[in-house]
Subunit: 314 residues, 4 copies
């Protein structure tokens, strides 16, 4: 740290996210709400919430920060963390950790690479993680929920069974991925059981306050600040953040790193969660998506957040 | 920053890199020196140098830190910076900024994406940058050399004409890439002229001291600390560092981010340069490569560097 | 026809296939019996049968011509013919008719081509045909069996339920293909029902005598010579033979056309059936396969057949 | 042959092609003349010629059968025949013989298959053949011209130097293919020399009368009927015809076999040549192309030819 930087007055995060909230709210009109299942298609596209949890544990927010939404692929962050905390580096026998360069549900790369998913944050990777959880936990859905409730400090976080059922009914591509990997022997449990985990994790609902809190353990080098428990060791936490940066937003990861500069994870429910190590975590929710499946208003809000605050990992 | 972290005594970087140098030197035996041109094949595989330049401008080193080597693809960092400083974001009309997911010289993705390279750090992207430099500079090779000499503070940095000529004679894949992009109208100058720039940039020689110094402007948010000149503005510097993290080591970028956690750029000459913003830059040179074309000993040394020091961008 | 050709004495097909049988029998040792299901893995690799049915309806044979075997993908010829006879050219709304250039169970091309299979003789195409039969026939399995029994003049042709069940238990790749096409809305019925047809058709058993007879309708321009009924009109018959020539042996089709020069269809059970319009049909069975999944001894026998007889479509 | 067929009166080919000429002439308006070089873009799109040469050597024609045109990729048939007649089956060390499944100038498959072209009738394959001719002939362009003049019985067949030069100036994709294969060591001579052959062969000009005559050797099982010389032995001739059927019209080969049922070769100049063994050869010329680069009117004319005459290879 140089002398000049130290003399800068502390940033007023509450005012900052309110400013950004008002500047970027209208952007939702440029996108399109996910409509592959009715439960998502019905979501009000005008909803927009932002929450920040600082390293000291202070919560700041703007807009619809208390409205629960379907976290969808953001859940891949939690299932992976849970499996990684059990398995450590042996998890890489079943998964790779490189950017995919292709869409979130592509089978092409999976065929060239003999059923080993590129990373845990594309659908194929998350399905392998679900398969691992079936071996690791007696009741994976129960374990996963407790895990997220503990991270977020919110006992109300829960599965939306209607959404889970809708996911199952329309999830032909995910069935294809799971059966395809099973043909390469990279899924060990029955496909129906594995996808039951997967469709439920997509249907977890929480608000931006809880979501921002739930990744505080990555701000704190692997330790959950709410209870002092070690979720991941420092090396694992570093690695997970690297993975989020390079692969957290599907094939828009490079662009997000480029524009925003924070490790992050997104979902087609319109949520994005991101963080700066030792500084803060931030969560956004706005259902209107760009053509790569990421929330338009949230990306813009987070780009302004790192630009205005001068803080990012770079 | 918390109180606890501030009370940690300052790291002795000189001792740290000496320790790491001795721990990792033997790893060179696991790799294979690039042999596609005689000039590279002849390099002594036992050479190993490490240099660190801190934010304050202090130089630390170990091993063969004064031996010049062929920087090869590390030069893509300099040509891109030079073009980016002239063109700003309009450069993205000709290039994308996503991880490629494939090998450094693949034509497959280029065909699917109609001649637009995935990023400036794969061969195709660097060839487009060379084409841009031909339009931007009266004498691109002269401009590039001055640029690197100024960044590194070393007037001895120069082209090795024998290497450049060898690159040309064996560069069939690069000729293919350039003609292929020209068929998509994404190369504007004659292929021979464009590749003359490209083959020369690969043949630039410098040592690890100079290489570590030459990226100090990225430690300093875009400003060359040697002369106070702005190379890139802070936003551009942030973006370039993000690009290095997601794409700097070809299709090993994700793994390097994961293991090491620093923005970096590598070359088949055995060099890697990396940095932590506001903290330091580091360069390594060891000619023996893994199967993805990156220096085995340098990657291991840098992983230990971030692990032992507890410093990385994550 | 020139005078010289007319003066050639008629070919003694019985002697010809006996000669070829003895010349090629040992080749089975170069291949490998399909082992993905136990029922196929157990087949005696030394079995080898050849049957010819001439245009006049004369049957010639050698070896194990009366041993029933699992026709596997040869069944795609019958399901396609049945659907084509009902739908005519409207069938091409759901299928293409180009060589695939890739392996029989690849998903890659299917993704690039949005769920439309390249042709009816790769797995994806046959699964679409099964889906069509579910819409066309009240009891597709019953209709298919009657159809084949009528073509072959053999009421003993039947499904092997053990094989069908084994196919289902190991058919992860086919489940993946079906779900994948369903995600593109190119499968209309439930995947389980569609694949039940598909796994049963693979499990049809017949011998080479019956198999050679069953394609006599293609020797006779679309008319079943056993009962005079029109199976396909002449234009449809021509088109089906063209399709067999360009796509009947997966990505070995070009090579088979090149070496043998007859429209044909193969299966991993070791069967191949082929024909020369207006001249004869020929069926072979030898379980040992090459790496492309086609019977080694049968291909060699058929190449000798067209070379020795001087007859082919070219 | 059945009794019924033998009693059919001989076909009046002259009347048949006149009828078809008038029925299909207007179809040229549905296509688009190749415009990648000025010399082709300037061709009158209303030109339409058809010529048939029967097994007995009788010539029939309609329309612009005497207007020379640029045969473009049809020349691949002649260069391959010339090289195949010298090398026999050893030619397959450098080339494969399977349908490509992709566009005529794709590099994708070439990368997956390590620089071995799928077949001699895509650009990459023809470039390898040109490389072979450089090793086989003292003066390849002279040898090729003599060869075609002898096959067609027309000494006026010649190169159009303006077209050859235009091909060179716009041939970036072909330069890319050649350099790419050279990087896999599947081009032995300098790229410039190889492509000089290739660009010249594309620039050969002849009319449909000569073109139909020039493939008569394939109607006659490999023997040039004009002089009795053996061009290919019967086995080679059979194989070449199979190759034409499966790969002669790029990725429209399957469809052409399906609709027309004759071995054929097309070019973007608007020419197509096809044949029925022991019966006749046919050539057409109409410059307007479909989106796969084949002449619309010629394909339709040939489909009607086989449908009306009831003659095809199937």
């Amino acid at each position: 740290m140089t002398h000049q930087l130290e003399s800068i007055p502390p940033i007023d995060y509450q005012q900052l996210i309110e400013t950004i909230y008002h500047e970027t709210k209208h952007l939702a009109q440029l996108g399109k709400v996910a409509d592959y299942i009715p439960a998502l298609a019905r979501v009000n596209p005008d909803l927009f919430g932002l929450s920040v949890v600082t390293q000291e544990g202070k919560l700041h927010y703007a807009g619809d920060h208390e409205v629960p939404f379907s976290i969808q692929s953001v859940s891949k962050l939690f299932t992976f963390t849970l499996a990684f905390s059990h398995l450590g580096s042996s998890i890489w026998n079943r998964l790779d950790r490189e950017p995919s360069g292709t869409s979130f549900n592509s089978l092409i790369q999976l065929e060239y690479e003999h059923g080993i998913p590129r990373n845990p944050f594309i659908n194929a990777g998350a399905i392998v993680v679900a398969d691992l959880l079936l071996d690791l936990c007696k009741d994976p859905l129960e374990s996963l929920l407790s895990f997220i409730q503990e991270l977020s400090g919110n006992n109300q976080v829960n599965y939306n069974e209607d959404v889970a059922e809708s996911e199952r009914l329309t999830g032909h591509r995910n069935f294809a991925l799971a059966h395809f990997m099973k043909s390469f022997r990279n899924i060990h449990n029955p496909v129906e059981k594995v996808l039951d985990i997967y469709f439920h994790q997509c249907a977890i609902e929480m608000n931006t306050d809880s979501l921002a809190q739930s990744v505080s353990f990555l701000v704190h080098n692997g330790i959950n600040p709410l209870n002092g428990k070690t979720v991941l060791n420092p090396s694992q936490a570093k690695r997970l953040k690297a993975l989020m940066l390079t692969t957290g937003l599907y094939n828009e990861s490079g662009d997000f790193a480029f524009r925003v500069g924070m490790p992050a994870k997104s979902g087609v429910g319109g949520g994005i969660v991101a963080l700066i190590p030792d500084v803060l975590s931030i969560a956004g929710f706005s259902p209107a998506l760009n053509e790569k499946g990421n929330s338009i208003a949230c990306i813009e809000a987070m780009e302004r957040f790192t630009t205005y605050s001068g803080k990012s990992i770079f």
